[in-house]
Every structure is written in structure tokens, then in C-alpha cells.
């Protein structure tokens, strides 16, 4: 396959970036998107040029490191897939692919396609936990939880924290991410005890770090690689109202 890549290159956080065009001649449709970029980087390094920097680690869609905005979609066109699992078989011969970093004020670009997502960590540090010390837990089966509730909590807990929801949202809102975290705890009896403090602290931190507001467009749900539902956002709102 022959492809044209337009990649956002930016030397560091302070530098001014721009798109650079790369012609790719030998792309195999069996490659994953990041492997295609690996092959570009191999070529660049062999020519002693600066390779394209991008975050990646597990390459099996669970660590949440990778994430690029590809032709108008976070993680590319295919729903329910992270960039590392995006197969090149979904691209057409001769296609031009625009590759951009996540764009949001709380996610400043560090270099090329790498953004700083510590804003997510900050929100979780604000209250994304159940306060229990090591060794203080009761026997696991002393907490009975209805299977349906537990499964629902799991469906919220599968968020990988990649930031695609923020990248997709026209408002750069982090509501889907925060609501998934809130939901997981809100649905479990262990998490109910400090539910009020948690939702207030996390929402306050979310606003403080500069994410936009939710206007219920649903783009987060459409682009989430783990298909997390905006039902969670409604639950977050409910929890928030209840907390006052």
C-alpha cells in the first residue's frame, strides 16, 4: 500500500508545531497503525532524523497509552479499537492520513503526538478511591453485591484512561472519563460510604484543571475505544445533585 501521512510535528511543549508530510511506499494491510509508524521511524532513524514521538506501551488495547487523532476520529475510524489495534486494512490505497495529537487545554502537547494527561491522574487523586487501609478489609464474601450491579460497575470500570473522550468532545469535556470512575464506585456498596465527598472533589478538580462542559453531544460515547456509555454521565449528574 502507498499512503501519504500528514503528521503533527512539534519539538517540545514550547515550540511551534506544524504538519509534516511523509510518503509511505510499503505499508502492509496486516500492519497495525503503530507498526506502520514504527516502520516510518525506522526509516527516519536510519537517516539520522528525529523520529515521530508517540505514546505506546502494551500494544494490546488495555494500557491506554496510545492515542492519536486520525482523520477526524480519536483512535481512527474503527469503533471500539485503540490506535495500537487499528489495522491498516481499514485504509485505502493512496489515502492521505492526518495524524494529530489530542487537543485540549488540560492535555498540552509534550512532543509531536505525545500529550500530558496528568490532569486525569489529578482528578483521581482528588477522590477516586475507597478509603481503606491494607489489612483492614473484611472477608470478601461478607460484602454481598447483586450480580447485575457488580456487572454494571465492571462496565464502567473498563475505562483505560486514554483520553479519547476528551479528544472527541467538541468541548474537550472529561465527563465520560470522570463519570465512569464515579459510577464504578457509586454502584458498589463499598464505594457508597464516601460517595458524596468523592463526587464533589472529583468534579471540582475536573473543572479546575480546565476541561470543558458536557453538552450531551454523545461524541465521547461514539469514540470511546471501550464503548463506555453516557448513561454514566447521567449517573454522575445524579450523584452530584445528591451530594448537596
Amino acid at each position: 500500500m502507498k499512503l501519504t501521512l500528514k503528521i503533527w510535528r512539534q519539538k517540545n511543549a514550547k515550540a511551534k508545531g506544524s504538519f509534516v508530510t511523509y510518503k509511505m511506499d510499503n505499508v502492509s494491510p496486516e500492519m497495525a497503525f503503530l507498526e506502520m509508524l514504527d516502520s516510518l521511524n525506522k526509516k527516519l532513524v536510519e537517516e539520522d532524523l528525529d523520529p515521530v514521538a508517540f505514546d505506546h506501551d502494551c500494544r494490546e488495547g488495555i494500557c491506554g497509552s496510545c492515542g492519536m487523532y486520525i482523520n477526524g476520529h480519536p483512535h481512527g475510524l474503527v469503533p471500539g479499537v485503540t490506535t495500537c489495534h487499528l489495522s491498516m486494512r481499514y485504509f485505502k490505497e493512496g489515502e492521505t492520513i492526518w495524524i494529530e495529537p489530542w487537543r485540549a487545554k488540560p492535555f498540552p502537547v509534550i512532543k509531536d503526538l505525545i500529550v500530558d494527561r496528568q490532569a486525569f491522574d489529578k482528578i483521581q487523586i482528588a477522590g477516586g478511591f475507597i478509603s481503606i487501609n491494607t489489612g483492614a478489609a473484611p472477608d470478601a464474601n461478607s460484602i454481598l453485591i447483586r450480580k447485575q450491579k457488580s456487572d454494571e460497575a465492571f462496565d464502567s470500570a473498563i475505562c483505560i484512561g486514554c483520553g479519547a473522550c476528551v479528544a472527541a468532545c467538541k468541548n474537550a469535556s472529561a465527563m465520560l472519563f470522570v463519570s465512569a470512575k464515579i459510577s464504578q464506585f457509586a454502584l458498589l456498596p463499598q464505594g457508597r460510604i464516601e460517595a458524596k465527598e468523592r463526587v464533589r472533589a472529583m468534579v471540582e478538580k475536573m473543572d479546575e484543571v480546565g476541561f470543558g462542559n458536557c453538552s450531551n453531544t454523545g461524541s465521547c460515547e461514539a469514540e470511546c475505544p471501550k464503548k463506555i456509555k453516557i448513561v454514566n454521565i447521567a449517573r454522575l449528574n445524579r450523584e452530584y445533585f445528591k451530594a448537596f
Binding site: 532524523l49 488495555i62 509534550i110 470478601a140
Partner: protein
């Protein structure tokens, strides 16, 4: 030889840990605040240790190379986490879990440590549940379990096919709580490049800020390595592509012994390699073997699509060879059996390096819905990667490098041979012997981090309370930092033609071919020569663009690969030394007539702990003899 004191407490096996806990030294709460501990890594063991130490009141500094602690590779574990809860009333107990681990590890693990790991497993499940980890549940509201590779009881707790992520998020949440309280300071995007020793004790690290390139000095009263395994020596493995052994290797070069490096587990159920550009192999949880049946065609080179091969022409070779355990034999056995069939020409797929994992019968019997509930996300993932729908066609699987049982040698207190340096989780060697049973890595890592290290480390720190805050201005820090910078400069100055990844790929191929699932003396000796040649070429023809004082991923990679050249050499040396087959270490020269592993208990019932003896010098082996007081050593049989 006097150096290896394992410090196993006296007394009956079941009492050792209780006795230890009752007699270990303690540190007064007021003193804890003044004592600093560095923890490298934020997986289940690292995040667990950092948060538990934070809860106790120590001043903890926690480091990871990822942008967030939640991305440590524990996140990728799929199948589950074991505990001896006996919630199923199927006869499970701490002893039986201990026994299964010892037997599964082919009698090459230390009894005392393994028993303790089994003992704390129940606390681990309680803790994660309390932290809000959504483990699978039954309709009555109790926790559900499943049976997992190589055991006959159902003791594996799970969260669909992503138990690792759910447990890690639990650990991450407890870590966040300590960060919010100011007990733990988090340093993400940092790579530990060396260990600093002062008067023979671990007193700090030199780390590189991966964003700015700045070289940083961090001091502490003790250093804990929770840096995971080195499965990426094979290049293609189930590990994260940035997983590496550099921190452990640097510690080894500073005096920490490296134990049983050749014990590397090859996981039997991975998506086979699809193309030459592939950067990793994706694991398909072993839990699939509970319902999937493994088979190859009975005819060599059969090219018919799997569904067109009739029942009587299929060879369910695991069920045939191991009637008692069938598809649930331990990983090493399943991996080798797959390799044996493929080498004999019965493999499937274009490369012929794959076997079928078929759900046809399970779907027929239990219904598609049930199978979807159990494995839905795994099936979806398989479909995404390969474009094949496993509900309709069998999956194709092949073994891939996965877990390293070997690691830094530690005593009962999880301390390495360097005073004040600890190794926990996969980074140490202690609990899995020559082969790890499924779902016991999350268990061991969590146990080490939450329940063992936070107790044993007191025994060391209790004597450190008079040591004031360690200064980073000492000559030792100065010298180590200089070494680190010089090495970075050296990597940057080669200015050859090839990338670090291309060397890594070639090194991985050597390791996979000569030191993978099956090894022999000739191949291992050849590997040593090839590694040396490739290493020379690396130091001649590597190219790393840029400088070290900026974000430079090629430089990070180059440093890790450079360390791998040294580690692989040790790994092969260890494999050569061990003239027996045990667990994952299978030497062709030592097998039974029907092709099973043949141990040599008289000569090799020991841990080989290797001491670094300077560049160019052969490593020195120290033996820690293993004494089995409780368990009778038997030939492992799954027939």
C-alpha cells in the same frame, strides 16, 4: 558461598510467617515519617508497596516510566488471581495452593516463600474487594471463581478477561489516596538508570526525566524494585513493548545476585505472528482453555479450512497425551506440546506455526450466550486483530514469551544481596520455581507489595532510624551520575546506521531459536557466540539521533537493548549450567522416552544465583540449596 542466607524462619511451615510477624522489629510511627523509601514501578507490587508503606507513615517516592501509574503492565493480565478461599467447597486450602505452586514450579522454588504467598492470597482478595475491584459474582451476590491452568480446584477470582486492569486500578486508587495525603510523591515518566550505593547499602537512584532528559538524583533509606520481568528479550512477547530489565540489571551490576535467569515462561495461548513488522504478540487468556479444545489435523500439511475437517480427522493432542488434565495442563506443557506438533508438520495457518483452539463443542453445549458472557471481550479482541470470528471458526494460537520466573535473588524478607535493596513481584525470583501456574502472578505481586514487604522492610529500617535524611550531594551520587551520563553519551556517539529496535529484533530471534521453549547445549553455545557478535555490531553500528537532554525515545530503547545483550548472555549461561529439564526450562538432552521433562534432583535442587564480576569476566554462580521439608519431590505428571 556464605553470602546466600535465605533467612527462612524456623518452625513448622504453616507457622513460619506468623512467627516472623510476631518477632520482626518495628519502627515507631514518629520515626517512620523521617524514613524515606524509593519504590520503582507502579504495577501491582509497586503500587501496592508504595501505598501500604504510605499508609504506615513512611515517606515514599514512587517512580514509573509511563505517563501514569495506571499503565504499568500488570494492567494486561487477563485471566485472574488465585486465592485459597475455598469458597467452592472443593477441598482447596492454603496448603493445597502452596502444593500446586511447588509442584507447578517443578520443585525449584523455596517452600517457605511459596507457603507465605499462598497464605496472604486470601488477604489480597479481601483487600481488592474492599477497594472496589469488580470481581465477577454469582447471582447470590458472592464472588465467583473459575478453574485455571494446571490445577483441579476452582480458586481463580476474575473480572471478565481483564482481571489485571481491574486489580491494577484498585492498587492505583490506593496509591492515589496516599498521594492525596502527601505520604507518597509520584514521579511518572522517569526511568531509573542506576542504583547508588553508600557504604554498601542501597541509598538512592539516578533517574532520567523522560520528558526533559534531565538526570535526577533521588536518595532514600531503602530502595524497592518492582520493575517486572524481562520477557521482551524475545522481542516478540506478550509484554508491553517498553517493558525492560534495566533497573534490575543495573542493580545486578552493583552487587545484587540474579537468580535462575533462564526460567522464562512461554505462554501457550497467544495470537500467532501475522507479519514480519509485528511489534508484539497478544495474549489470549489461558482461561479459554477451560472451554476451548486444542487440536491440529491428523494429516500432515492439511490445508482444508478447520471447519471442513471432520471430527475423526482431528487430533486433540492435549486430551490424548494428558487424559487427566486434558486442555488444562500447565503452561510449559501446553506450549511444548504445541511446538512439538508444529515442528512435526501438523501446524495450521499460513505459517504452519499455530494450532486450533476450538469453541464449537462448548458453544453447542452451553450456548453462544454463555460463552459470550465468559469470553466476549477476548473473542472481540481476537476478531479485531485477525479479522476471524471465533464464534464461527476456531482461534489460531501459538506460544509466546510471557513471564520470567527468574529475577533478582531475594531472601525471605524480599531483600536482595545488597542491604536495603528489595525486589518484589515479577522482578524477584522467589515463588514460582521453574514454571508459574496461571493466575498466580497477580496473587504474588499483590501479596509482596501489600502484605509482605511492608512488614519485612521494618526489620531493616528499624536500624536506620538514626540515619539522617540522605544527601544527594555525596561523592557516591556524583560518581554514579557521571557513569550514567557517560553511558548515555556513549550510546549517542556511535552514529552508525541501525536502529535499536532492529538489534532488539535480531537478539530476540537468537533467543527464541536457541533459548526458547526447547534448548540444547549446542544451540546455547551457539547463542552465546551470536549474542557476542551482535553485541559488537550494536556498539559499532547503532544510531540514536538527538541528545540526552530532551525527550528521546530511541535513546531509552537503546539503553534497554544494551542491557539486554548482557542479560541474555547470563540467561544463556544459566540455561547451559542447568543440565536438566525442569518446568519451563526444557533441555532436549534431558527428557523421558515420551518427551516429558526429566529433572535431576540430585544435582540441581538449587537456586542458581549469579554474581556479576566485572565487565568481560564470567559471572560467578552461588548455590542456594533447596530443602523440601513438607513436600515430597515427585515427577510432575498431568497424565
Amino acid at each position: 558461598m556464605g553470602k546466600l542466607i535465605s533467612k527462612i524462619p524456623d518452625g513448622p511451615l504453616a507457622q513460619k510467617w506468623t512467627k516472623y510477624k510476631a518477632s520482626v522489629k518495628l519502627v515507631n510511627p514518629a520515626n517512620k515519617k523521617k524514613l524515606e523509601v524509593i519504590v520503582i514501578g507502579t504495577g501491582l507490587s509497586g503500587a501496592g508497596a508504595a501505598s501500604a508503606l504510605g499508609e504506615l507513615g513512611y515517606s515514599v517516592k514512587n517512580f514509573c516510566y509511563q505517563d501514569s501509574p495506571r499503565r504499568a503492565h500488570s494492567v494486561a493480565a487477563q485471566g485472574g488471581i488465585n486465592a485459597a478461599k475455598n469458597y467452592q467447597n472443593d477441598g482447596d486450602s492454603v496448603y493445597r495452593l502452596f502444593y500446586d505452586m511447588i509442584k507447578g514450579g517443578d520443585y525449584r522454588a523455596r517452600e517457605g516463600n511459596v507457603y507465605r504467598a499462598a497464605e496472604v492470597s486470601n488477604q489480597v482478595i479481601d483487600h481488592y474487594t474492599a477497594l472496589g475491584v469488580p470481581f465477577a459474582r454469582d447471582y447470590g451476590g458472592t464472588l465467583d471463581t473459575r478453574s485455571f491452568g494446571g490445577v483441579q480446584v476452582s480458586r481463580t477470582f476474575y473480572s471478565s478477561g481483564q482481571t489485571g486492569q481491574q486489580c491494577l486500578l484498585g492498587a492505583y486508587s490506593s496509591l492515589n489516596r496516599q498521594i492525596s495525603k502527601g505520604n507518597v510523591t509520584m514521579y511518572p515518566r522517569r526511568e531509573m538508570l542506576d542504583l547508588v550505593l553508600i557504604d554498601g547499602k542501597a541509598r538512592g537512584i539516578i533517574a532520567r526525566n523522560l520528558i526533559t532528559g534531565e538526570i535526577e538524583r533521588h536518595a532514600a533509606h531503602a530502595v524497592v524494585l518492582a520493575t517486572g520481568g524481562y520477557g521482551t528479550i524475545y522481542f516478540l512477547s506478550t509484554l508491553a513493548v517498553n517493558s525492560n530489565a534495566s533497573a534490575a540489571w543495573k542493580a545486578h551490576k552493583k552487587g545484587a545476585f540474579f537468580a535462575n535467569p533462564s526460567f522464562v515462561q512461554i505462554h501457550p495461548t497467544c495470537v500467532p505472528q501475522l507479519n514480519e513488522f509485528q511489534s508484539k504478540l497478544t495474549l489470549m487468556s489461558e482461561s479459554l482453555r477451560n472451554d476451548g479444545r486444542v487440536w491440529v489435523p491428523k494429516t500432515k500439511g492439511d490445508t482444508r479450512p478447520a471447519n471442513e475437517i471432520p471430527e475423526e480427522e482431528r487430533d486433540y493432542y492435549l486430551e490424548r497425551r494428558y487424559p487427566a488434565f486434558g486442555n488444562l495442563v500447565p503452561r510449559d506443557v501446553a506450549s511444548r506440546a504445541a511446538k512439538e506438533r508444529c515442528d512435526a508438520g501438523f501446524g495450521v495457518g499460513e505459517t504452519k506455526l499455530a494450532v486450533n483452539l476450538d469453541f464449537r463443542d462448548a458453544i453447542k453445549k452451553q450456548g453462544k450466550k454463555t460463552i459470550e458472557n465468559k469470553y466476549g471481550n477476548l473473542f472481540e479482541m481476537y476478531d479485531t486483530i485477525t479479522g476471524i470470528n471465533p464464534y464461527e471458526e476456531p482461534m489460531r494460537i501459538y506460544p509466546a514469551g510471557h513471564y520470567t520466573m527468574g529475577g533478582l535473588w531475594v531472601d525471605y524478607e524480599l531483600m536482595t544481596t545488597i542491604p536495603g535493596l528489595y525486589a518484589i513481584g515479577e522482578a524477584n525470583f522467589s515463588d514460582h520455581g521453574a514454571n508459574r501456574l496461571g493466575a498466580s502472578s497477580l496473587m504474588q505481586a499483590s501479596g509482596d507489595g501489600y502484605f509482605i514487604l511492608p512488614i519485612t522492610i521494618n526489620n531493616y529500617l528499624a536500624d536506620e532510624i538514626r540515619v539522617p535524611k540522605i544527601s544527594t550531594g555525596s561523592p557516591e551520587f556524583e560518581a554514579t551520575e557521571k557513569e550514567v551520563i557517560e553511558r548515555l553519551k556513549k550510546l549517542l556517539s556511535i552514529k552508525g546506521k541501525q536502529t535499536a529496535a532492529s538489534f532488539h529484533k535480531r537478539l530476540g530471534k537468537i533467543m527464541w531459536d536457541y533459548c526458547g521453549m526447547v534448548r540444547n547445549e549446542e544451540g546455547l553455545k551457539k547463542a552465546l557466540v551470536l549474542i557476542k557478535e551482535l553485541s559488537d555490531e550494536f556498539w559499532r553500528d547503532l544510531n540514536v539521533p538527538g541528545t540526552y537532554s530532551e525527550l528521546n525515545m530511541e535513546l531509552e530503547k537503546a539503553g534497554r537493548v544494551a542491557d539486554y545483550f548482557e542479560l541474555t548472555e547470563l540467561l544463556v549461561t544459566d540455561a547451559l549450567n542447568r543440565n536438566e529439564s525442569c518446568g519451563a526450562h526444557f533441555r532436549e538432552e534431558y527428557q523421558t522416552p515420551d518427551g516429558e521433562a526429566l529433572r535431576n534432583d540430585d544435582k540441581f535442587t538449587y537456586v542458581a544465583a549469579w554474581e556479576y564480576s566485572g565487565e568481560g569476566n564470567p559471572p560467578v554462580m552461588h548455590k542456594e540449596e533447596l530443602n523440601f521439608e513438607e513436600v515430597e519431590m515427585k515427577t510432575r505428571s498431568y497424565k
